[in-house]
């Protein structure tokens, strides 16, 4: 999902760099103020850990294999602010040392994978845990669903940036990125849950110590994150409505062209259900998204149940 150089236009580059700088700045301030100094070296080592863990292969089918993205894992194990700093370090090192991810697109990549993804993961993780409880199974369920949501959030943000740059059409890129990452997100969810389950079994306090010590300031971080995402939408909307293709075409066809002024939010992804798509594409898109989320939640629930099942003493080796 790393955007290389040469794909995004100057407007998008500037907007994403600004938003990424704000997000990273707030996270750095949060870490400096509220993280005990004891945990500061862990951020650097955890960044190296995420990089190493991304090198592990998870075979899928026919010789292909997937790998971890790690934003949700970092958010669950480190908390949101430290996760943002660690993921930013990962992306900086990847682009500066391995030319993986562009230099001009660094702002966009940091925004998608190091700001939006951990914040989305953390928000969902907190929300699910506040409803489902803080037991092992609930923690794993929250982790899995958070990983799926963060993958989707990052992918859609990336799609919005590519489309706003005018290099691909809105419908194409949102449909492609949305549908592909619905599946990739499931893989990310299962991998993240498996890893967190191992940590929970070996050193449960490593998972819990990153989480229940949530001061009201962390709630502020989440609020900043939400504001950031809304800011992104608002910033992108004028670009979207000024595009000659895609969105305007859709707008004219469905007769809400008059609404497509500055406050028009970015469209929802177009991974629509086929029969419904012709009559009511918006409804179909919403339904497809909800269905995907439901499937992800169900998968997370089943895996969490299987992983949290008490192991019989003799069955362990």
């Amino acid at each position: 999902m790393h955007v290389p150089d040469g794909f995004l236009d100057a407007r998008t580059l500037a907007a994403t760099a600004g938003l990424a700088a704000v997000g990273l700045g707030l996270a750095l301030r949060e870490v400096r103020r509220n993280l005990p100094p004891r945990r500061v070296p862990l951020i650097g080592l955890a960044a190296a850990f995420v990089f190493a863990a991304q090198m592990l292969n998870f075979p899928v089918a026919a010789g292909t294999s997937g790998h971890l993205i790690g934003a949700a894992l970092a958010a669950v194990l480190l908390g949101p602010a430290a996760a943002i700093v660690a993921m930013t370090a990962v992306l900086l090192l990847q682009s500066l040392m391995f030319a993986d991810g562009g230099i001009t697109a660094l702002g966009a990549n940091v925004l998608n994978l190091a700001v939006i993804a951990p914040l989305a993961a953390y928000g969902v993780y907190r929300a699910v845990r506040s409803i489902a409880g803080t037991g092992q199974q609930a923690t794993l369920l929250a982790t899995g669903f958070a990983a799926w949501c963060s993958t989707m959030a990052a992918a859609l943000a990336c799609a919005v940036q590519l489309a706003a740059s005018g290099v691909v059409e809105w419908g194409t890129v949102l449909a492609a990125m949305g549908s592909v990452h619905m599946v990739i997100g499931l893989g990310e969810a299962v991998i993240t849950m498996l890893i967190v389950a191992v940590v929970l079994r070996a050193r449960p306090e490593l998972v819990t110590s990153a989480v229940p010590a949530m001061q009201p300031t962390h709630r502020r971080t989440v609020a900043y994150g939400t504001a950031l995402v809304i800011g992104l939408m608002v910033l992108v909307a004028p670009f979207a409505s000024s595009l000659p293709d895609g969105l305007e075409h859709v707008a004219e066809r469905f007769g809400f062209a008059s609404l497509a002024s500055a406050s028009q939010p970015a469209p929802l992804p177009d991974y629509s259900l086929v029969p419904l798509a012709d009559s009511s594409p918006w409804l179909a898109t919403v339904l497809a998204g909800a269905l995907g989320a439901l499937v992800a939640f169900a998968v997370a629930w089943f895996v969490a149940r299987a992983l949290a099942a008490p192991v019989h003493p003799t069955a362990r080796h």
């Binding site: 750095l28 890893i195 191992v198 490593l206």
Partner: protein, 205 residues
């Protein structure tokens, strides 16, 4: 072996390019990348000139051209993957070609930079230009322990492989997750020791 080579892009050398100050090289590389990105899509002569410049600098650095090419080809699939989406747009072929050229030139620039400049020197530049200290510390620790953790991970995988004879897909997932989970536990224990060692040497947050 391939992994070792991939993890250390820096090629030792004593050419003039290697001896240029890291700050100047970073500035030149970033400037070149921005120039390529901001050039009009059909500025083919400018692209050719920049490519010629990159080749000239590589030759002056007596860099391992084959290694750099392999690195470029390994990164190219990601570029092509995104660029292909542009082909679906009506009249997308020139757009596709120009994006591919731009991205490839930028990749080549960064590969050349990392082949001739140590990452620790780049970190020193980031420190000097006042990138927030916490971020530079994090980057420095990450770079320092990256190789330690990757080696630790490989030892764990080797130990697992020497004890496991059947490798189905499910067990492969479980094993990789086991390695990653254990690696995180060991990483956080190591971070505690690193913190104590840093404090013993007078480090202040």
């Amino acid at each position: 072996m391939l992994r070792d080579r991939f993890l250390s892009p820096y090629q030792h050398g004593s050419s003039a390019v290697h001896r240029w100050p890291a700050g100047a090289k970073l500035l030149a590389a970033v400037g070149c990348v921005f120039l390529v990105v901001l050039l009009p899509r059909s500025a083919w002569w400018a692209y050719a000139a920049i490519a010629a410049g990159l080749v000239a600098v590589s030759l002056a650095a007596r860099a391992d051209l084959r290694g750099m090419l392999v690195r470029l080809l390994l990164l190219e699939p990601f570029v092509i993957g995104i660029a292909l989406l542009a082909l679906l747009k009506p009249g997308g072929v020139p757009l596709f070609l120009s994006m591919l050229t731009k991205s490839t030139l930028c990749l080549a620039t960064m590969i050349l930079l990392t082949a001739t400049t140590r990452f620790s020197d780049l970190l020193a530049v980031l420190w000097r230009i006042r990138v927030p200290a916490l971020l530079v510390t994090t980057l420095a620790l990450m770079h320092r322990y990256l190789f330690v953790l990757v080696e630790e991970m490989e030892r764990m995988q080797r130990a697992r492989r020497s004890r496991t004879f059947v490798a189905g897909r499910t067990s492969a997932w479980r094993n990789s997750a086991q390695v990653a989970g254990q690696l995180f536990v060991r990483t956080s224990e190591r971070a505690e020791r690193v913190y104590l060692a840093m404090c013993a040497r007078g480090w202040k947050a």
